[in-house]
C-alpha cells in the first residue's frame, strides 16, 4: 500500500467513524421522540374508540386546536406566572446562597437556624400558601414568596455542601500562601461551590413554577394557576390541558436557561 492509499483508508475510516457518531446521536434523539409520538397516537385513538367525553379527556388534537385558538389567553396568563416564577427563583436562591455563606462562616448561626430551615421545609407548600396569601395579600408578592420558599431549601443544603467541598490540601495551600478568609472565599470556596449550586438551581428552575402556580390557586385572577382552576370548574378540559402544557413548557424553558448558564460557567 502506498502512503497516499493508506492516507485514503485512514480518511475513509474517519468518515465512517463520523457517520457512526452522527447515527448514534440521531438515535438518542429519535427514540424518545418516537415514543412520545406513539403514546400520543394511543391517546388519540383510545379516546375516539372508547368515546370518552371531551370534558373528561380531550384528544391530543383537541388540545392542540385549543392551544392554537386560545393562545392569546394562554399568553396573557403566562406572563404573570413567568414573572412570579423568575422573581421567586431569584429571591429564594439569593436568600439561600447568602444564608449558606453565613452558615459556613459561623457555626453558631448554623446551629441556631438550620433546624428552623428544616422545619419550614417540612411544611407542605399547599398548607403554607394560604398563610402567605393572608399575610402578603392576593398580589404578586405572595406568589413570589411561595415560589421563593420552594426553591430555598435545596439550594441552601447544596450551597453549604458546595462551600465545604474544598479539599484539605487546597486549604493548606491557601494557608502557606498566607491567604485571608476573603481571598479563600472568592478564589477557592465560591468557585468550588458552583457545581453544587447549579445542581440546586436546576431543581429550583422547575419547582419555582410549581410555587407560583400553587400561589395562584389560593388567590389570583390571572396566571396559569388561575386559568387551571377556572377551566377545571368550567369543564373546559381542552383549555385545562393546554394550560398544563404551557406550565410545563415554562418549567422546561427555565431549566434549559439554567443548564445553558451552567455549561457556560462550570467548564471544569
Amino acid at each position: 500500500m502506498t502512503v497516499a492509499e493508506s492516507a485514503g483508508v485512514e480518511l475513509q475510516m474517519q468518515i465512517d467513524e463520523q457517520r457512526l457518531e452522527r447515527r448514534r446521536k440521531i438515535r438518542t434523539i429519535a427514540t424518545p421522540l418516537a415514543t412520545v409520538a406513539l403514546l400520543l397516537l394511543c391517546w388519540q385513538f383510545g379516546v375516539r374508540i372508547f368515546e370518552v367525553p371531551k370534558y373528561i379527556a380531550p384528544a391530543p388534537s383537541d388540545v392542540a386546536t385549543t392551544f392554537v385558538d386560545k393562545f392569546p389567553i394562554l399568553l396573557e396568563n403566562f406572563w404573570p406566572t413567568f414573572y412570579e416564577s423568575v422573581l421567586g427563583f431569584m429571591a429564594g436562591n439569593l436568600a439561600a446562597i447568602l444564608i449558606a455563606i453565613t452558615f459556613v462562616h459561623n457555626k453558631t448561626v448554623e446551629m441556631a437556624f438550620f433546624p428552623i430551615a428544616v422545619f419550614i421545609n417540612t411544611i407542605p407548600i399547599l398548607a403554607i400558601a394560604p398563610i402567605l396569601v393572608l399575610i402578603f395579600g392576593a398580589g404578586l408578592t405572595a406568589k413570589v414568596v411561595i415560589a421563593g420558599l420552594i426553591c430555598f431549601f435545596p439550594t441552601l443544603v447544596n450551597m453549604v455542601r458546595g462551600l465545604q467541598s474544598v479539599s484539605d490540601q487546597s486549604l493548606e495551600l491557601a494557608r502557606i500562601l498566607s491567604a485571608t478568609k476573603t481571598e479563600i472565599f472568592w478564589k477557592i470556596r465560591l468557585p468550588s461551590s458552583l457545581p453544587f449550586l447549579f445542581s440546586a438551581l436546576k431543581i429550583a428552575a422547575t419547582t419555582c413554577v410549581i410555587g407560583a402556580i400553587v400561589g395562584e390557586w389560593v388567590g389570583a385572577d390571572v396566571g396559569l394557576g388561575a386559568l387551571i382552576i377556572d377551566s377545571t370548574f368550567n369543564f373546559r378540559s381542552s383549555l385545562l390541558y393546554a394550560t398544563v402544557f404551557m406550565s410545563s413548557g415554562l418549567s422546561v424553558f427555565l431549566f434549559v436557561v439554567v443548564s445553558i448558564a451552567e455549561r457556560l460557567i462550570v467548564r471544569w
Binding site: 479539599s167 490540601q169 493548606e172 502557606i176 498566607s178 485571608t180 481571598e183
Partner: protein, 267 residues
C-alpha cells in the same frame, strides 16, 4: 553558595543552613507525632525523607511550613521563624495530589500564589522566570490554557511544581509528590526535578515511600522511625550528579537501597 554545582562539595563547619530544627516536638493532643528532632538542612541540598507510615514524615514538612505548630523546641528557616518565612515566601509546598484549582487553567494555577497574601503583608517575591516560562521549564509549553481535567496526573504535578517555583522559594517541601504516578512518569519527573534543582539551586526536602526514589534523588536520606516519630539515621548517598536512570543498575545504588531497606525494617 547558591550555585547548583556546590552540591557535590560538601563543606564542613559553617555551611549556610536553609532549615534548622532544635529539639522539636509536635503533639496532637496526647499523641506525639515528632519527638525531639534536631536537624540542619544545608542550603542548596537535596534531602529525601523515608520512614514507615506514622513516623511523622508529612508532619515534619508541615512543621517546617508553619502548618502545624511545634509543641516545644525551635524551628527556623534561613534564620527566620516559620511564620516570618511563610510571610516572606521563603518556602513552597508540593502536595501528593497536585491540589490544582479545577476551574483555573494551568497558567492561572501557576499564577495563584501571586494573587494571594498581600493583605496579610506578604511582599510577593518576583521570580526571574514568568509563569509561562516556568510552565516551559517543567515541559508544559503549549498546554498553558488547558484545564487540570484535560491534563494527565504527571502533567498536573508539573503544574504544581511550576506553581511552587513562581515565588522563587529557597526551600521546596515536597510531600510524596510522585506517589500516585506510574513508574515511567515518575522516572521522567525525577530526572526533571533534579534538573530544576541544579538550575535553580533551591533546597529540597522530599518525602517518599519509595526507597529507589529516595536514593536516586537525594544527597542524604533521612530515615525516620515511628511511634514516636524520631530521626533514626541520616544516610549520605555518595553518588555523583547529574544522575541518570541507569545509575540504579550500579552496585553502589543497590547497596544503598538494600541498606535502607534493612534499616526501614527495624524502624
Amino acid at each position: 553558595m547558591d550555585t547548583a554545582h556546590a552540591h557535590e562539595t560538601f563543606a564542613t563547619g559553617s555551611v549556610p543552613v536553609a532549615a534548622s530544627l532544635r529539639n522539636a516536638f509536635v503533639k496532637f493532643g496526647a499523641f506525639t507525632a515528632i519527638e525531639n528532632l534536631s536537624l540542619d538542612v544545608e542550603k542548596g541540598s537535596f534531602y529525601t525523607i523515608l520512614g514507615p507510615s506514622g513516623c511523622g514524615k508529612s508532619t515534619l514538612l508541615r512543621l517546617i511550613s508553619d502548618l502545624v505548630p511545634a509543641a516545644s523546641g525551635d524551628v527556623s528557616i534561613l534564620g527566620k521563624s516559620t511564620e516570618e518565612a511563610r510571610l516572606a515566601r521563603e518556602f513552597a509546598f508540593v502536595f501528593q495530589d497536585a491540589a490544582l484549582l479545577p476551574w483555573r487553567t494551568a497558567l492561572q494555577n501557576v499564577e495563584l500564589p501571586l494573587e494571594m497574601g498581600r493583605k496579610r503583608g506578604v511582599k510577593i517575591p518576583v521570580s526571574d522566570k514568568s509563569p509561562t516560562e516556568l510552565l516551559e521549564l517543567v515541559g508544559l509549553k503549549g498546554r498553558e490554557h488547558a484545564l487540570p481535567h484535560e491534563l494527565s496526573g504527571g502533567m498536573r504535578q508539573r503544574v504544581a511544581i511550576a506553581r511552587a517555583l513562581v515565588c522563587k522559594p529557597k526551600l521546596l517541601l515536597m510531600d510524596e509528590p510522585f506517589g500516585a504516578l506510574d513508574e515511567m512518569t515518575r522516572d521522567r519527573l525525577n530526572l526533571q526535578l533534579l534538573q530544576i534543582w541544579e538550575e535553580t539551586g533551591v533546597t529540597i526536602l522530599f518525602v517518599t515511600h519509595s526507597i529507589p526514589e529516595a536514593v536516586f534523588l537525594g544527597q542524604k536520606v533521612l530515615m525516620l522511625q515511628a511511634h514516636p516519630g524520631r530521626l533514626r539515621e541520616v544516610v549520605d548517598i555518595n553518588l555523583p550528579y547529574p544522575r541518570e536512570i541507569k545509575i540504579r543498575d550500579t552496585q553502589e545504588f543497590t547497596q544503598y537501597a538494600s541498606y535502607l531497606r534493612e534499616l526501614l525494617e527495624t524502624c
